[in-house]
Amino acid sequence: MIESFRMRAESVSAQVERVATTELAMELVALLLQQEGVEDKPHCYAVWAASAMIGEAERQKMERIVPGLRFDVTRELAADAKVGISQMDWALANTGTLVQSADAVDKRLVSTLPLLHIALVSTAALLPDLTSVLRRVDPRTSAYLSFITGPSRTADIERVLTIGVHGPERLIIVLVDDLEVAA
């Protein structure tokens, strides 16, 4: 399933990384943010939507390592940020899709407004397909379910595929082996 997921996600222009532990995932994210030039100044922020994998201690640590990384996600900050980071609930092997129960608005802000979206997901949360995830979600408790398959794209001009329209133009997926399945 992991290989199928990677193949499918890469075929729609996502980048897929895999790490053994949450700690390594944090290090990888920090490295990526530094590479992207995230800094504590306008147009250079990174915004991280709250999720179970990141507690108060990790938060403070990450803020220290990466100046410009913010957890107090607002509309204005997300609109100005370079990078958005969020944890997804499931991944679908046969389409390379990420799925998230995204009622909390910050989860959607960080994955729609910035040009780069870094999505963390538990390796154990890989499911085969659409059918298996629709069986697990409950629309009565998840009022906004987001499915993300690769970065934003269009072919509206002359059918030429162009990556990055209204949403992110890059999507980096980090599979984390020791992460608990969120839902």
């Binding site: 509309r75 629709l134 906004y144 794209r153 269009t154 001009i157 002359e158 329209v165």
Partner: protein, 710 residues
Amino acid sequence: MNEEFKQSILDALANPNLSGALGRFSEAYRVSRAKAYEGIDFEALRTEIADIKSLAASQLDKLAEKFTHAAEARGTKVFRTSDPEAVKDYILHLALERNVKSIVKSKSMASEEIHLNEHLERAGLEVNETDLGEWIIQLAGQRPSHMVMPAIHLTKEEVADVFSQQVEAGQAADIPKLVKFARGKLRPKFLKADMGISGANIAVAETGSIVIITNEGNARLVTTLPRIHIAIVGLEKLIDHFADITPILTALPRSATAQLLTSYVSIISGPVPNTDGTPKELHIILMDNRRNEMARDPRFKQALQCVRCASCLNVCPVFRLVGGHVFGKVYTGGIGTILTAWFDALKESDEIQSLCIQCGNCKEVCPGKIDIPELILELRRRLAVQQGQPIMQKAIFSVVNNRRLFHTMMRAASIAQKPFARQGLIRHLPMFLGNMTEFRSLPAIAEVPFRDRIKKIKQPKCAEKAAFYSGCLVDFAYPEMGESVVRILNKAGIEAVFPEGQTCCGAPARYSGAYEVAAQNGADNIRALLSEDVKYVVSACPTCTVALKQDFIATFVSVGRIGDLPAARQLAGKTVDFSTLASQLVEQGRLKFKKGTDATKFTYHDSCHLKRTLRAEKAPRKLMQQAGYELVEMQESDMCCGMGGSYTLKLPELSAPILERKLVNIEKTGAPLLLIDCPGCVMQIRGGIDKRGSNIKVEHTATRLEECLE
């Protein structure tokens, strides 16, 4: 056909961007769609979708009720109306009441259907489409030409001009830059908008959920940033169960854009918090606009199984030449013709229904399993009933149905053409008939029709008999095809009889909507063909075969001639197309191939009716390969040749370029021989080949097969 409409076709054909971009797209689409469906049983999938949507269509009100109940329980406001005006008023009132100044929209065909933007803009609201294609056509002041790719008719240069004139001067015709420009200009509009308006691809009754799919991500912004979200949902989007999302979401992106899944899918089942912490105000409008009426119509109910993927446009040989604007309305292409007839008015479909050449490509790929060609014929029938048949058409049918008179007249015309006929082909016709021979030569009319020539064939007495049904072209233009069939049957120990009472198969009448005429043709033929005690009724024309096997029955049902059905079924049971029968006879060892014939390479053109209605495309290929011929498949072998019976007379402007593509594909194979099972296609393609001065031989499978048999 009115001049304005003809002119719009000519304008579209003269637009090189259109034919170029659409042609390339439709060729690529076939390949990429097939790839996207790899590993999926498409028939099973679309049967599941058709079942889900058909069941939903039979209980629209009940599902709307259930949806309302579920959605309202979670704080969504649901507004149900049958009236498009009420939809516009509801949105406008809400906008004014909530002090909305600016609105962002993600793609909604339902909003196009009711011309919502104009209504809101007249009241002074700022409305911005955010789907790139929709934004471009909004700025250009045009209508979408395609349901999924609204601006496919514009080149990058034209888009750059639109942006430069309407937004900011100096935009270059560079696609990535144009896309970036759109992102930059629309972003502040998203951020400042007070209201977001979207459509929905699916609405789930049991949970009150709507499913919205996009690739650009604009729907996520439209449903996230503004404090109010309104979704306009046509009733046909309703399904009962949450789990039923899967098959639709499996098919829709594959059929629409050959993607396994679009970049974004949002399933919204209730209000979620806004960015300032207040709850989102979520309104869902369930719009009827004649959908219930459609659901009550036994013929058109199936049109509600449409998932709006537009694959019927993508595979259409006519759409790829002229694009969407010729259709003149919001919904375009095959399904668009049907929706226009309902959502606007039947008479609005009068001109556009004539664009359909009845090739059946769309029916093959429709994920909702809608018989689009059949529904277009039904529109034609209703239009003919409502408006009456043109006098000219009536006169033509009365001649066509009288075989002797028909032949005499054709022959008289043929003699008049003598100076123009060479080697059995007419290359030019004088004056007003000239456009018939503009792009392909026509066959000269046979001196003696097949019905008289068969009497001269010395046939052995056989225990088994088959009735030969000739059809017009074999009878009057290509009697040699009929003679080959008779001699092949004789080789297999079957005597061919020609029931004299046989007449036109009724296809010309049926395809013109004159069902009463077609029904009478059916009844006359059934009487003639069942009067002889024969094992088979065989025809060398797939269109005639389909008439005998299927259309008589369908026509009788349509016009209520139920009493004629048993005999029609009896005839259907005996009827077989030539190649299928021949291959059965080969398998039974009753026909044997000669050894050491001078076999060549050949390519094969699939006639629409043989391939997509009779599903007999393998038989002729196999027969010729058994005879030692080498098959070289052409590109799009099953794409229509542009003949379409009387289509080529009504719309030669379209028939010619469709033929042109076919000829190019034939020539590219390098094969010296083209085989076809349909005399109509032979007429079209042989005529085209002759006009091009090409040496490729075009023959009916029967005439070539005869040479290969012992």
